[in-house]
Symmetry: C2
DNA sequence: GCGGTTTTGTTAATAATTTCACATTTTCTG
DNA sequence: CAGAAAATGTGAAATTATTAACAAAACCGC
């Protein structure tokens, strides 16, 4: 059920939810499609179409119920039991991600970090214990970790991905600038910050005329 | 010229270049479309189409000249004079980005960081001086900074974006989880790490059947 | 140097995504 | 209470992005 949602829609639903959570905190009970659209810099039709795809029906003239919509999006994209996540590489980026998530209510729990630096191993950072990369296989299985976020230096990207796959990971989010290869059974998402910056720079350049 | 390249193509060109630079270092002089494709997890046709769009012609049976292609991609996406970049928020994520860029040859130079923490202001991190956010307007103009990368906490996202716009920035890469609004004249790219992680978790969930 | 193989470049086809256009319903205003 | 305004929901059209298919050229082995 709901397996056929477009990738883009999944991304937007996640973003809608975050915007909606902010509205909820402010005490807002209803929201119009064009309000959501404005926050996300997209069109109102796009919002309505996405909500149509997940079968949510708003109220004419009142818009969408913020609380209900948050719950429905949660039903779609969250896993009922929650998903445990590990950070591979407790450098600046790894710690940034941990802090980012700290305190966020979420079905996604960062339950372990891994590093090869002996000074870090055994410590806890923002509530996340740091283990030795050598124990990756054991810890991932013990803690039932399903997703790994790779924030290691590029030269360790390939070997880290291999270790993760061997440990039975189900999804990898790769923030290193080095693309990795994994079996089809592992979902892989790669994001390269340099590419994003180069893209911004490109459009700045061509806008200068 | 070259203003009509699809956004996706721009992103891929940046990625091709990074893969090509690694090949160049290894002494490889030529590469086939299917080799590039494999690294990037896309099809060879896609690669050839992208290169067609930028007017690059390879050699039949020998593939593409690595050096030439790197140069051509540089001509397309880089700005001739280079572009100066600032990091807004010298926390973990800001420092991660600086280290990421340190030593990379690139037309993109991170020339300033900004923060409100007095302990950081006046220091230099990986060669990047940290200034007070209060001096943002002056420094951005003095140093001819065109692009800002926002890595501040979410609650400062809106005000930081406003400051940047006032200082005459031309492009913003927003890594905070809070969407911001800028005039059309400023190119805006937003990236939310939580969305990416939620997306990976979603596809892990639905693959479990 | 001939037949088979490999690779590029490109047109045409397909697929994915977004936008248009508008019917429908609700609320507001006079 | 009639007409105007504002909002949703959605089929159809348009746009954007990807893949298929294949001609043409280059090289290899014999």
């Amino acid at each position: 059920m709901m397996k056929n949602l477009p990738h883009k829609t999944i991304e937007r639903l996640s973003q809608y939810r975050r915007a909606l959570l902010i509205c909820l905190e402010k005490g807002q009970t209803h929201i119009y499609s064009h309000e959501i659209a404005k926050i996300q810099h997209i069109t109102a039709v796009q919002v309505r179409r996405d909500l149509m795809l997940i079968g949510y029906t708003g109220t004419l003239r009142k818009g969408y119920n913020v609380k209900d919509l948050i719950d429905l999006i949660g039903n779609i994209i969250d896993s009922t039991e929650g998903i445990n996540v590990a950070i591979l590489g407790m450098g600046n980026l790894g710690r940034a991600l941990i802090n980012y998530f700290a305190g966020k209510r979420s079905q996604l729990k960062i339950v372990a970090g891994f590093d090869i630096n002996p000074d870090k191993i055994g410590n806890t950072m923002s509530g996340v214990p740091c283990f030795s990369s050598e124990d990756m296989n054991r810890i991932i299985r013990e803690k039932n970790i399903k997703v790994g976020i790779m924030t290691v230096p590029a030269e360790f990207a390939t070997s880290t991905a291999e270790q993760l796959v061997k440990a039975g990971i189900r999804g990898i989010l790769n923030y290193t600038p080095k693309p990795v290869t994994v079996p089809d059974s592992v979902y892989l998402e790669e994001y390269d910050m340099i590419t994003s910056l180069e893209k911004v720079a490109f459009f700045v350049k061509i806008n200068e005329d």
